[in-house]
């Protein structure tokens, strides 16, 4: 086609607040880049504490993403494909960590899995100590990241609809086969972008972790905790590590966008 489509319904003045809004979001990122001590950048990243924090973050975020998939996929399916009394309320409650301050999440987890918590004694009897362990970090991350996966997957399931599932059933496929061979493959892009978002949220998790898991190098001190602590002594190192998180976040969002595009 030749010719240029005419812009309709976008008044010119709208660009000013739009650009201002974009600048508001982007300028702080630019500021981080400008403040990064490039001459020492790789030395700062190479420190034992930074590396352990980065590795711990990647490890725990990976694990929590897997947990989110293991529990979030069934939850999304139940929410999208069934109806029962109180489902709306249940959905809102399950999505609560999205809007809850992470510190509150941390306190809630403490009273659940802590030594004196709801389930703490059960774990104690089983010989599992959650407090101050890497497990606690994973629990905190899973708690805050799960809704991202559930929301994104439930949306994908609703968009995909049930017609392919009906066809599969009339071809003789039982519910498990339908789920495995039809439902899951069809929503794979939605699942992928949900998992990426969950991973990103886990990576950035701070409040719940510091409240619930504590902070010890190599065990519970993830990258955001390390950055927060470094500010006390070496602000430049904190900036360098922050930039690493920014880069990871940009990559993750790019990946999630690509997943969406292929939908």
């Amino acid at each position: 086609m030749t010719g240029q489509p005419v812009r309709v319904g976008v008044p010119t003045w709208i660009f000013f607040p739009a650009v201002a809004g974009a600048a508001f979001v982007l300028l702080p990122l630019v500021a981080i880049v400008l403040r990064t001590p490039w001459s020492r950048f790789f030395d700062l990243l190479g420190s034992q504490a930074s590396q352990e924090a980065l590795l711990l973050s990647l490890r725990t975020s990976g694990t929590s993403t897997l947990l989110c998939i293991a529990f979030g996929v069934p939850m999304a399916l139940v929410l999208a494909r069934t109806s029962f009394r109180g489902q709306g309320i249940l959905r809102s409650l399950v999505l609560l960590p999205l809007v809850l301050p992470p510190v509150v999440g941390g306190i809630a987890l403490l009273y659940t899995f802590g030594r004196r918590g709801l389930l703490g004694e059960t774990f104690e009897v089983l010989g599992i100590q959650v407090a101050f362990s890497t497990t606690a970090v994973v629990l905190a991350q899973t708690f805050v990241a799960m809704p991202f996966l559930v929301v994104s997957l439930e949306g994908a399931l609703r968009t995909a609809g049930q017609k392919y599932e009906v066809v599969a059933a009339t071809l003789g496929a039982g519910p498990t086969t339908v789920f495995r061979r039809v439902t899951l493959p069809l929503v794979l892009p939605g699942l992928a972008s949900g998992a990426v978002l969950a991973f990103a949220r886990s990576l950035g998790e701070f409040g719940a972790t510091i409240t619930f898991a504590g902070s010890l190098q190599g065990v519970t001190r993830t990258l955001p905790l390390e950055i927060y602590l470094l500010r006390e002594t070496d602000a430049q190192a904190a900036v360098a590590l922050s930039l690493v998180l920014v880069v990871v976040a940009v990559l993750v969002i790019g990946f999630a966008r690509q997943g969406k595009a292929s939908l």
Binding site: A169, T170, G172, L186, L188
Partner: protein, 351 residues
């Protein structure tokens, strides 16, 4: 060994009962909202009727509100396949794996189900498309693949929900021929709007309107002598039954109609039907001499406006001409005239 259906779905106002003999294809005809889809949904196990009993080969599939215990066999366990308007091929699987889906779900080995799928693709004439993705198929090809997939599941009962409604008219005749071949000897419920489908694919027609059966019987009889307005409407096609003799249709009255035989070619002496739309008919007051065309002498029974045209009716046939032509010919009920149809406009099918 019969399919027995009897069910009431109150909120859709559908309450009907019918049986289908093994190997029989029954066409469900009816206007939109008549209850055809409800019948398919109840049969496939996607909808529970308020009261009803559906059995296949003596095995109860759905029982509700009867003396025996209520029962609902889930869709995957009914051996009832459903083919809809849209092919709904699984987009993430190749054509071959789509067709192999049924056998695989039944527990066949991967290679076994692929071999069966290959067989079915050949049967519907698209074996060369086995490795394609559904997105790379044309509408007609996709529907063929969907037919193969439904049959590969080896259903005891096949449900077809307007299988050609979403297709380009250019590809429907070929697909219809294919369906005619693969549906023979199968127990099938075919929902359609198209009289030609009913005539060519079904042994029997059930006409539904307002949630109940208003007409039923042998396909060509019901369509030739419509008892409901809807049947008359959809049976708007002209149909002349006869016998295939010397490359033409010989009617009982001894009239010879030349047409265009479909695939498979009818054999000498086969019962056949010549089918053509009213718009293919030209009307003359005198017999056109020396023309290769079919000229049928008729007595006009009535004239009626029909979508900007004039529908000229006789006892068995109808023609569609412009108002101007009707005025020039000065037609009126009781007039004698000739209906002239080019041989290329007439389709001939075995019945």
């Amino acid at each position: 060994m019969t399919f027995e259906y009897e069910a009431t779905v109150a909120d859709r106002g559908v309450d009907l009962a019918f049986d289908i003999a093994p190997g029989e294809t029954v066409a469900l005809l009816g206007p939109n909202g008549a209850g055809k889809s409800t019948v398919l949904a109840v049969t496939a196990g996607l909808l529970r009727p308020d009261v009803g009993r559906v059995t296949l080969d003596g095995r109860p599939l759905t029982v509700r509100g009867h003396r025996e215990r209520d029962l609902h066999v889930p869709p995957h366990d009914r051996q009832v396949s459903l083919l809809a308007q849209e092919p709904l091929l699984f987009p993430h699987l190749s054509v071959l794996d789509n067709v192999a889906f049924g056998p695989r779900s039944r527990g066949d080995s991967r290679s076994g189900s692929r071999a069966a799928a290959d067989q079915w693709l050949r049967e519907v004439g698209i074996e060369e498309l086995a490795d394609r993705r559904p997105a790379q198929l044309s509408g007609g090809q996709a529907q063929r693949a969907a037919v193969a997939r439904a049959l590969a599941a080896d259903p005891k009962l096949l449900l077809l929900d307007e299988p050609m409604a979403a297709l380009d008219v250019a590809v429907t005749p070929a697909l219809r021929q294919t369906l005619r071949r693969v549906l023979a000897e199968r127990t099938v419920v075919l929902v359609t709007h198209d009289a030609l489908d009913a005539l060519l694919l079904a042994d029997r027609v059930i006409v539904i309107d307002g949630g109940e059966i208003v007409d039923q019987g042998d396909s060509s009889e019901v369509l030739a002598r419509p008892r409901s307005r809807f049947t008359a409407q959809i049976a708007g096609l002209n149909m002349i039954p006869g016998t295939w003799r010397d490359h033409a249709v010989l009617t009982a009255a001894g009239m010879r109609v030349e047409g265009h035989p479909g695939d498979p070619q009818p054999h000498e002496g086969d019962p056949v039907v010549a089918v053509f739309p009213p718009s293919a008919v030209s009307v003359f007051l005198d017999a056109p001499g020396g023309s290769p065309r079919n000229a049928l002498e008729v007595t006009i029974t009535h004239l009626e406006p029909h979508g900007g045209q004039i529908r000229v009716r006789t006892a068995e046939l109808s023609a569609e001409i412009t108002a101007q032509a009707a005025a020039e010919l000065d037609l009126a009920p009781g007039s004698r005239a000739f209906f002239v149809i080019k041989a290329t406009e007439i389709a001939v099918y075995g019945t």
